[in-house]
Every structure is written in C-alpha cells, then in structure tokens.
C-alpha cells in the first residue's frame, strides 16, 4: 500500500513541533526515518499510527484521503506499529500475547494445543522459531520480548509496518533474524517505516532515507547516494570523527577490584580491576550477564561468591547505599524502570541520591538543593534550561538520560558504572555524554561503560572487557582491536 503525508503540522499547547512534514512510501519500500531526539520522529510515528492527531495536513493511502482518530483506526487500515517500549503482558504466555482474543476454540472453550501450535507457526514465520510459545512473556529476555512484539504486529498481516528502534535491544543472530524478516516482508509488498539511531543498519536496509531535523524533513535520499558521515552531519551538524573525544590513557591507582565474583545462573568467576582515570568498556550480547554483574557490584543484588574491593578496604556492598557511600554510582540500563521517578520533577529526581545528606536540621536544605540541581542542569546542558520544576517525563529521552547522569554526578563518585547510557539517545546527546565521561575520567574517575554498541565500545574506551555467557571471555586494548575481534570473543569464538 502506498502512504503519503502532506504538509503535516503538529503543535502541543501552542508549541509547534512538526512544521509541514511531507513523506511518501510505496509497497515494498523500507523507508528509514532518522533524526536527533527531539527532531520530531516520535511525534511523526504517533501520527502515522493514530496515537496522536495532526494539527494540520493530510494523510493519503492508496490515493484516498484518510483521517486516523485512534490506533484502532490505524489497525483497521492495516497500519501496525512496534514501539520501543515493550507492551507484552508479562504474566501471560507468549501464545496469549500473540493471539490475544483470537484463540482457536473447541466446543466454546479455548483449544490450547491448537493455540500454542498457531503461535509457534507465527513465530516460525517471523523467523523467531527459537522462542517457546508456552513461556510466560515476562520470563523472556528483553530481546526476545521485542521479537514477540514484532511477531504480534504481524498477526494481522499489516500492509504498513512501523518499527521504532527495533534493533536497540537486539544483537548478533537476533539482529540477523530481524533483518531477514524485514527483507521477506519487503518482498511481500509491505511498506516498512523504520526508525533507528543505528545508521549502519539504516544504510544497509533502507530503500530511501528521510532525515528529520527540528520538525522538518531536511533531506530525502537513498543509501547509494549518501553515507554515515553525511547523515550525521545532516542530523547534528557534526562529523563522525568528532563524536568520540580522543582518549589518551593516564592510568592511575587501582580504584575497584573484583575477584571471582559469582551469582548463580547469571555470571561466574568474574575478575577485573578498574583504575583511576580509565574508561573500560564491558561488551556482551543481551543475556551475557553484564547488567546483572553491574547490579551485583553495586550491592543491588547479593553475590554468591567472590569479592568486591575498593582501596581503603570498603567493599562487598550489601545495599546500594553502602556502595554509594564508598564512592560508586550506577546508571542502570532502563531509565524508566530504575533510573527515574517519572511522576516527579527534574529537581526531585536529580536530588534523590543526596536527599538524606542535604539537610538543615530535620528539613531538606532547599536552597542548597536548588543550587546543586541548577548547577548540574547547566553543567550537563539539560534542555530546556529552566526544567528544574518540570515533570521529568516531559523531557526528551536524551535529556532524561542526562538527568539520571546528573543525579549520580551529584554524589561525587570515584567509580561510575554506566549501563547502556546511550541507548535510544540521539546523536547530539551522545556526543555530550561521551565528552562528559571523558572529562570525568581526566579528573581521575574510573568509568565502566557497559554497551552492546561496538562502535561506542571501541571509540569511547581505553580497554574492553568482553563477556560471554556469564564469563569474561576476553580483555582487549581499544586502540589495538577491531569490532570483529570483540564480537568473536562475545560469542565464544576464541581467535
């Protein structure tokens, strides 16, 4: 089906965020939409999927003008959207999530064997046959849940499929399965609208690329006519080599030593040492145990065996509070679930880690808190600049991430653990974050950067630890290794 947007405007409370967007896609096309966070991509997607209505403009499908009033309208017209946020019901099986209301019946009752069979077929068809339809959705890894989301969108055989950052949580063979699926759908004549921050895959998959900046389409191009460099320049006005600050290691004293750390079913016999002034990458595929390791070091989960030591004797933290007191900070991978209190203001969120230490008598020292928070907002360039009393949920993704970072910098850590700090974050904010990490390291902080983005792991660190199935499978110097080598260690191939 062909789909076209003409002159779409959208304003929120008088603030216009889309200023006349034109977009056109034909059956069998993969239309990639790229742009910095806050450029208007999410708004555009929500308009296409009926979740938001446009303030002005037209939408045409197969030569007919349509007005979508709800996601339901969009479904009826064959438009399906897979959002970044997972929407599966964790307590229900994969089968129930997939078939949701369309169960095969026998004598009025649900025919479970047939239902599981049907769900299995659907997963197989989508190329995700490895997932057992009987599993509870909540038991699956985030990557697998994402795959079920995609399979669910395909149940009704959509003619337009919108994918919002589908690859953000996928890696390795999962990613290959997704790309193969997209190519198959393309052959079947489905129009795919693909939003991603990963430019390499955009260039690989797309038939045409639309670059959005500040609510406008500033370029419509094709992979053959452009490259990663040009896209970045268009999106952010920056060159690739300007993304990562050049690292020059000035390694200081050991700042954190982990010895033989083990937690059953998650990771085993992990040992490493961080040094002051050093940025160490921790690369591993989803499910390799890296996030669990970070949480355990931080005292958020108990360890089964092993030791965590800081110079001066502190270590083996039983609560995050102890770890923070000793100079650790952890930016978790899921800022909505464990990084922010979404209903609270930016100030309340940034002040959370110092809530109990910023007091005068029994009360919070409001003046000092205000000053500290404002300083952090300035230092990290959180936008809008006067956001302290705004609800944090109203910030863009990149700025939310900066707010989380601000919260942790406020405690003045000596060891900073960052778990996927740039996931779903736009290029401009990424550059800010890399520069901030680099600055902190130069001031003598140790940084452990957990990431599944190979370019990032190579570009932003001094040293890379690679994890595979809960064990450290390799340690490499960032300036002497390659993406291929890191990947090989991460899937257990020893080079």
């Amino acid at each position: 089906m062909s789909l076209e947007l003409r002159g779409v405007h959208k304003d929120f409370g008088g603030v216009e965020v889309l200023h006349g967007v034109d977009l056109a896609g034909r059956p069998g096309e993969v239309l990639a939409v790229v742009g910095a966070n806050g450029a208007g991509k999410s708004t555009l997607i929500k308009i296409l999927s009926g979740a938001l209505s446009m303030s002005a403009g037209e939408m045409w499908m197969d030569g007919e003008r349509v007005g979508l009033r709800s996601p339901h309208d969009a479904h009826a017209r064959g438009i399906r959207t897979v959002y970044q946020e997972l929407t599966l019901v964790a307590q229900l099986s994969v089968t129930e999530n997939l078939l949701m209301g369309n169960f095969p019946r026998r004598a009025g009752l649900i025919d479970w064997p047939a239902a599981h069979r049907r769900a299995g077929e659907l997963l197989e068809e989508a190329g995700f046959g490895a997932i057992d339809p009987r599993t509870l959705a909540g038991r699956l890894s985030v990557a697998r849940q994402q795959m079920v989301e995609i399979a669910k969108a395909l149940v009704s055989r959509p003619r337009v499929l919108i994918l919002d950052e589908p690859s953000a949580v996928l890696a390795g063979s999962d990613l290959d399965a997704l790309f193969a699926l997209i190519r198959r759908l393309q052959e079947q004549g489905v129009l795919i609208i693909y939003v991603s921050h990963r430019l390499a895959e955009v260039l690989d998959l797309a038939t045409s690329i639309v670059v959005i900046k500040d609510g406008r389409v500033i370029e419509t191009t094709e992979p053959a006519r452009t490259g990663e460099d040009e896209l970045i320049r268009l999106m952010a006005g920056r060159r690739l080599e300007q993304i990562y600050p050049g690292r020059r290691t000035e390694r200081g004293e050991a700042s954190l030593t982990v010895t033989g750390l083990t937690r059953e079913g998650e990771f085993e016999d992990v040992s490493f040492t961080l040094h002051a002034g050093e940025i160490v990458g921790l690369f591993g595929l989803v499910g390799s145990g890296r996030s669990e390791l970070a949480r355990c070091v931080f005292g958020a989960e108990p360890a089964g065996a092993g030791e965590v030591r800081l110079p001066g004797g502190a270590g083996d933290f039983r609560t995050p509070g102890e770890a923070i007191a000793a100079g650790l900070a952890l930016v978790t991978e899921d800022r909505k679930r464990s990084g922010l209190v979404l209903g609270m203001t930016v100030r309340d969120n940034i002040a959370l880690t110092t809530l109990h230490s910023t007091r005068r008598g029994p009360l919070i020292d409001a003046a000092r808190q205000r000053r500290d928070v404002t300083e952090m907002i300035d230092r990290l360039n959180i936008q809008p600049a006067h956001c302290a009393s705004m609800a944090v949920v109203n910030l863009s993704g990149g700025n939310q991430q900066k707010a989380v970072l601000a919260k942790w910098l406020l405690v003045g850590p000596r060891v900073l653990i960052l778990d996927e700090p740039t996931r779903g974050v736009d290029m401009a904010t990424r550059v800010d974050i890399y520069r901030m990490i680099d600055e902190l390291a130069r001031e003598g902080l140790s940084v452990l950067l957990i990431s599944s983005d190979l370019t990032e792991v190579l570009g932003a660190t001094d040293r890379v630890l690679v994890m595979n199935q809960g064990r450290i499978s390799g340690e490499l110097r960032s300036d002497q290794t390659t993406e291929d080598e890191i990947l090989a260690y991460s899937i257990g191939l020893t080079v």
Binding site: P320, L342, D348, H356, I364
Partner: protein, 323 residues
C-alpha cells in the same frame, strides 16, 4: 507508556506568580459553594452548635485521612485504621481508671504505632500485599478490641473527656490537634528527606532503592504514621463520645480513602498532598453534615455520598488529563 498516548485535550490551569493553584482554587470553590448552599437552605447550619459539631466530626476522618495518605503515597493501603480506632479508644478508656491520663493517652497512641509497625514490617520486609496484610489486621485488631472488653467502657476519670470536649477559643481542642497534624504532616511530606523518600517510593521504588535510600524503613515508617494517626483518632473519639466501644469505627477506612482520592491522591502511589487531602476531608464532612441537616435518611446518605465521590473524581480526572 508514551507509546499508547491517546489524543490529548487541554484544560485551563490557574497559574498565579508561577505557581499552579488549580487544586487550591477547586477546593476553595467547592467548599465555599457547599457552605453557601448549606447556609442559605438550612437555618441550623450556621448555628454555633452545628459548627462546633462539624469541627469535631472532621477530626476522626481528618486524622485517619492523613495517615492513609502517607501509606497511599508509598503505593499501599491501610484497611486496619477503623479497628485501630476501636482498640486504642477502648484501651485508653480502660487504663485511665487506674493510671494517670497522659499514660492512658500515650498507650492508645502507642498501640496504634505498634500495629502500624507490624503492618509495615509484613509489607516491606516480607513483601506481602498491603491490601491483604491490613485486611487481616482489620479483623485481628477488631477481635483484640473485643477481647480487651466485650462491653463499652465509660471511663470514671472525668478528665478523660477533656481531650474531646475542651475548646481553644471558638475551636475545639481536638480540631486544633487535627489541624496541627496536617500542618506538620504537610511539611513532613514536602520538606523532609523521609517525606520526599516516601513520595518517591510510590513513584518508583526500584529507582529509590538504587539511589541508596532504605525503602523498607520508609515503608514501615509510613504504616507507623498511619497507625499513630488512627490511635490518636481512637483516643479522641472515645473522649468526645464519653464512652469507648469495641464496635466503633467500622468502615472508617473507607471515608479516609475517599478523602485522599477526592484530594487527587493516586492509589498507585507517588501522587497526593496533605493540602488536597485536607480539602477532601472538608468536602466529605460538609456533605455529611448537609445531608444530616436536610434530614436525608442515612441509607440515602450513603448512596448520595458514593455518587458525589464518583463525580468529584471524574472532575479531577478530566482536569488531570491535560499533560
């Protein structure tokens, strides 16, 4: 779930000097309206007897509502408060015949705190559902009240009655105590580390835990505060009525929850304020008083109250849909 945003409409907000005063304006308007209707339609409403009565009646609901608010902010609920009212009341009335008055009062209050600590520990330490824990506490504590005394106790010590009947100028002492609880409680929730922690826990307990804050301790504290408020309410109620009954306080928790909800508190936790809850108490008590003055039959009063609560919440809801 930004992904599931539906089409949004905007509602007018009342902003003055950079502060959003919508909540205040809504409640002041509502209360003024209720008072105006009451004053113009009933001869008895503005009499001193009725007004004093009104001020005394709001004490129990007010105290329970503040305690309930603190628990609701953590994302929990305390169904046991009505039973605690009965137990604390009968305990202090019983003790006052042999012990000094302050001891009896403190004992009633302490009993409430102990029940709250037990509730909080079961919820925070053992991870049990607040609804289930406090439902069990509701029946257990009610039973204990009857175990303590099957029959009502009229305290022999006359001084016991002062707490419920003394006046500070034109205002009953008990009302002053309740107002003080809201005042101090409001400061606690907005300006102390513990208060902010409690609000944040209801918003996202995992984030708070990872920020190094002891979540369990604060949840237990919230239930202890609710218990203390219920204990205090029980002692004051027994003192006002002049007789402590083991059967008093049935369904009191419902009015307390209603006041919080009318005040815009979210039962999911993380949202609600002392100020707005106090507004909820006023609205609830005024409605009760008004229906009494009109001589509406008590069963119809319940029906009307239910409908009014739904209406107020619907208005709140549409008002909040703005973001």
């Amino acid at each position: 779930m930004t992904g599931q945003l539906t089409n949004t409409r905007r509602y007018p907000r009342l902003v003055l000097g950079g502060r959003d005063l919508t909540v205040e304006v809504v409640f002041v308007t509502l209360v003024v309206l209720l008072v105006a209707v009451a004053a113009s339609t009933s001869d008895t409403f503005l009499t001193q007897t009725n007004l004093t009565n009104l001020l005394k009646q709001m004490v129990t609901t007010g105290l329970l509502a503040f305690g309930m608010l603190v628990v609701i902010l953590t994302g929990g609920i305390d169904l046991s408060v009505g039973s605690v009212v009965a137990f604390s009341g009968i305990l202090s009335a019983g003790l006052v015949s042999g012990l000094p008055l302050p001891v009896a009062i403190v004992a009633g209050l302490a009993a409430g705190i102990v029940f709250g600590l037990i509730n909080g520990t079961l919820v925070a330490r053992f991870g049990l559902a607040p609804f289930v824990v406090t439902l069990a506490a509701l029946t257990t504590i009610r039973g204990l009240a009857f175990v303590y005394s099957e029959v009502p106790i009229s305290p022999e010590n006359e001084s016991f009655l002062t707490l419920g009947s003394a006046m500070v100028g034109p205002i009953p002492l008990s009302t002053v105590i309740m107002l003080a609880v809201f005042l101090v409680g409001g400061v606690f929730l907005t300006r102390t580390p513990a208060g902010r922690s409690i609000v944040a826990i209801g918003g996202n307990a995992e984030t708070v835990r990872l920020a190094g804050i002891n979540v369990r301790k604060h949840v237990i504290l919230a239930y202890a505060i609710s218990g203390a408020c219920a204990g205090l309410a029980g002692v004051i109620l027994a003192s006002r009525v002049g007789i402590a009954q083991p059967s008093v306080g049935v369904a009191f928790e419902l009015d307390a929850i209603a006041a919080c909800v009318i005040g815009g508190a979210s039962l999911a936790g993380g949202r609600g304020s002392a100020k707005a809850t106090f507004g909820g108490v006023l609205v609830l008590v005024l409605i009760n008083n008004l229906l009494n003055l009109y001589g509406v039959q008590s069963f119809w009063q319940q029906v009307l109250k239910g409908l009014i609560i739904i209406a107020v919440i619907l208005v709140q809801r549409t008002n909040r849909a703005r973001t």
